[in-house]
Amino acid sequence: MAKAPARRGALGPQGAAALAAAYDTWAPQLFATARRLIGDTADAEECVQEVFVKFAERRGGLASVDDLGAYLFTSLRHRAAARSRQGQRQSALHLRAAPAAEPAATHPDRGDARGLERALQRLPLEQREVLALKIDGELTFAEIAVLLGVSPNTAASRYRYALARLKAALEEDGP
């Protein structure tokens, strides 16, 4: 059987192995973080895909990446923020076009995750980010602090504040 011609721009075997290893290590946390930040599964999948495409494009430049996790999460943050803004604009347009009554949110303890999801999406991005990086990204406050360019104490305060605000939002929605 004739050997297929090498695709122009395709990664070599070593590059493909590095890519697969990076995916297996980081994709679960990256996807969960993106899903929480954006609030949409399809958008989160695309976001993760873009992160790994950018990762693959760096090729030789990867040698200069000291902390792969920090690199991937930084890349994810930029993409998720862009998509989140885009989603908010589309959502606003949709609401203006067809205002529909949403079903009453229920408390997460009662098994309805949708109320939690809605309350999360109402948090400011800055707070949602810390929450997602901590819970879904499984990062420490020190790691989050490096990503956001703040002190670990600030990251921890934002996290606590986000939880408190989320709880208040859920209570406002009622059972």
Binding site: G9, A10, L19, A27, Q49, F52, K54, A56, L163, L166
Partner: protein, 110 residues
């Protein structure tokens, strides 16, 4: 930072952890296939030569020099391929800048 969360917030934290989105199993093959075809990102850094050319053109405007004279001043700062392009634009390029003649393929065996 190490202060434990109050019970109500800790409970909410657990609810959030329980609602963590699982990674779709089909995403791996898709992402790896698309990423494996990604072309290397182009180097967008400005070369020293083009920066020098910018400065030279600005100087030319300021000193009322001709653009050719300004580029000629900046020419040594260019990397070899760019220097040849500038040399071709300004004057007779040096020999090493001339394109190699095409090999005569008619004599090659199939």
């Amino acid at each position: 930072m190490s202060t434990p969360l109050p019970p109500d917030l800790a409970q909410l934290e657990r609810a959030l952890e329980a609602a963590r989105a699982p990674l779709p199993p089909d995403l791996r093959a898709r992402v790896l296939a698309v990423a494996a075809d990604a072309r290397p990102a182009p180097d967008r850094r400005l070369s020293t030569g083009w920066f020098a050319a910018g400065v030279a053109v600005a100087a030319a405007v300021f000193l009322n020099l001709s653009t050719s004279a300004a580029l000629a001043l900046a020419e040594p700062a260019f990397d070899a391929p760019d220097r040849c392009a500038v040399a071709r634009a300004l004057h007779e390029p040096p020999e090493h800048c001339l394109e190699p003649s095409r090999p005569d393929l008619s004599q090659e065996k199939p």
